[in-house]
Amino acid sequence: MSPTATKTKPLKMWQGINQALVEEMERDERVVLVGEDVARPGGPYGVTRGLLDKFGPLRVRDTPISEAVVVGLGIGGGAVGLRPVVELMFFDFAMIAMDQIVNQAAKFRYFSGESLPLTIRTMCGAGGPNGAQHSQNFEAWYSAVPGLKVVMPSNAADAKGLLKASIRDDDPVLFIETLGLLTARRDVPVGGDFVLPIGVAETRRAGTDVTVVAIGRLVDRALDAAARLAEEDGISVEVIDPRTLSPLDTETIVSSVARTGRLVVAQEATSPYSFAAEVCAVAVESCLSELKAPPVRVTSPFVNVPTPVPLAEARAPGADDVVAAVRTTMRGA
């Protein structure tokens, strides 16, 4: 946390995002925001409200339903002097712009040797009644791409500090917001210039028995689980939130697992070929001899996201699942 940011205020995640956008757009007139429904409507979930009035229609602009072009606006704009923030409304729609993200934006520096300051904001997860094409968590895909950074904050403060960092970053950053967290509150530094470093994990709770690496919506659930496990079982759980998925702060993860000898990875995504797989792999590569129990992945089952919220919530892993996984690791190999 930068030293000037001393005051904090309890804010919802969307407010943290909104503040980051406002502050960066005030600070640097090269920052623009384009995307579907971002301007007049202020975002389908209200995240970008007020920006159009503050910064005008050239810097805050509603686009047609043209996801490839939305990212193209960011690439071309970034190449001629802007520092664009482009919004892809739902993460699932990023697939339509996949070529622009992976084959174009991520390779810009490799081909040209020059910077592409581009932030791609999007929103993932099964937090609403949106169904199988509006709820997916494919953050692992993008994290496998050289030249692209992937940031996935789990709370309002991180969202603010990391979005500001992403906008200032000279590389393309995919900034993944989580629908299920947009209205979750957390104390957020205000007034100062609060910028967090990309690529640095945060240990959200220190512990000695089991390491839980959690992302997105599972961070708070892991913290709930940790509190319960401390109380009910006397188990000391360390909760790590990587916050950046690429480049991944493997050091923080590895040093924790080396200490605790037990690993649970928790995410909203399904299990195969996911973030959780990468973390398990990193752990066994680096800490085999310290591991006292097999790592456990706490994930959604390998099925589509249903539309009704009760079903979607039944599918998503909860604090209970983290508790059960931690207990499993405590029983050993």
Binding site: E36, D37, R40, P41, P44, D62, P64, I65, S66, E67, A68, D92, F93, I96, P129, N130, G131, A132, Q133, H134, P301, F302, V303, N304, P306, T307, P308, V309, P310, L311, A314, R315
Partner: protein
């Protein structure tokens, strides 16, 4: 599973004539949506609800007379398309209410209704995504030597997608039996048409050699005339047509959106052009009353059917992912 009969809603319109049949179907769609809107208000719809109220004439006019072996591609706003292609009101309601008897076991809701057995190849949560699939269905018909056709619905917002343009080009190149129906309801989520569409939609295929026609989308006969010309041409190997049906979305983008971004006068003016009122006026009043009563019964039975069906539980989540589950 008790089946609710869609009396006289078939292509021929039954003994009461095509106008009666088309009116009945529009009425069915209207009442189904109103009923679902009420249910939504009562918290009984566990998904988003994109109402097509005001736009019924587009679906009914374009689908009227289609065969079961013809295909239709629909959108996120597709209840009217589903019914017009022969979906059952009861199972559709069950789907919207998250019940086991729904077309997708109540797991998908309105954006994910797909009934290949009647040629309904899906509503869709991804704007524009149905259009390439429509090209595929039309190609499949052509490759099999069938004289079936595919009708592809999409909103004016979807004309901004690359998928739409790719499909236009290949449809013209391959002379696919494909009718593009743009349902221009003036709004694209929370912003007006002008934010999304440069120039004129019905001319989008002109440079490819695709005939384009703009029709009053609130006049079911006008839509049907344009569509049947296009369908006939397509069946005969004459290739695709692009129809722009100009209509209006009476409600917000989804149930719950109060649509404060638009003018009350505008809404009022369009409500006065209610396609149902216009279609009803052409009927014998006694017949119209009879049809309304029938629809009311059907809706009542369909709702009862849907409500009798169990709310879908987590045990159904794993169904239908692979032919032989892994």
């Amino acid at each position: 599973m008790a089946e609710v009969k869609l009396a006289a809603a078939g292509p021929a319109g039954g003994a009461r004539g095509a106008s009666a049949g088309r009116y009945r179907l529009m009425r069915l769609s209207r009442r189904l949506e109103e009923t679902m809107h009420d249910q939504f208000g009562e918290g009984q719809v566990p998904g988003p609800l994109h109402l097509s109220i005001g736009q019924e004439a587009v679906a009914v006019g374009a689908c009227w007379g289609l065969r079961q072996s013809d295909a239709v591609l629909s959108t996120h706003r597709g209840h009217h398309h589903c019914l017009a292609k022969g979906a059952r009101a009861d199972r559709l309601m069950a789907e919207l209410l998250g019940r086991e008897a729904g077309y997708s076991h109540g797991r998908g809701g309105s954006m994910h209704v797909s009934i290949p057995s009647i040629g309904l190849l899906g509503t869709n949560g991804i704007v524009g995504a149905g259009v390439p699939i429509a090209a595929g269905a039309a190609y499949g018909m052509q490759a099999q030597g069938r004289d079936d056709v595919t009708v592809c619905f999409f909103g004016e917002g979807a004309t901004g997608t690359g998928a739409f343009a790719e499909a236009l080009n290949i449809a013209a190149l391959w002379k696919l039996p494909l009718v593009f129906v743009c349902e221009n309801n003036q709004y694209v989520e929370l912003t007006p048409l002008e934010v999304h569409v440069a120039g004129e939609i019905y001319r989008r295929g002109e440079s490819h050699g695709i005939p384009g026609v703009r029709v009053d989308g609130n006049d079911v006969d006008a839509v049907h005339d344009a569509a049947s010309d296009a369908v006939e041409r397509a069946r005969g190997g004459g290739g695709p047509t692009l129809i722009e049906a100009v209509t209006y979305r009476w409600f917000g983008h989804y149930a719950g959106d109060r649509a404060a971004y638009r003018d009350e006068d505008e809404v009022t003016a369009w409500r006065e052009r209610d396609p149902l009122v216009r279609a009803r006026a052409a009927l014998d009043p006694a017949l119209a009353d009879e049809l309304d009563a029938e629809v009311e019964r059907e809706i009542g039975e369909a709702l009862a059917f849907a409500q009798r069906s169990p709310v879908t539980g987590p045990d159904m989540l794993a169904l239908d992912h692979l032919a032989v589950p892994a």
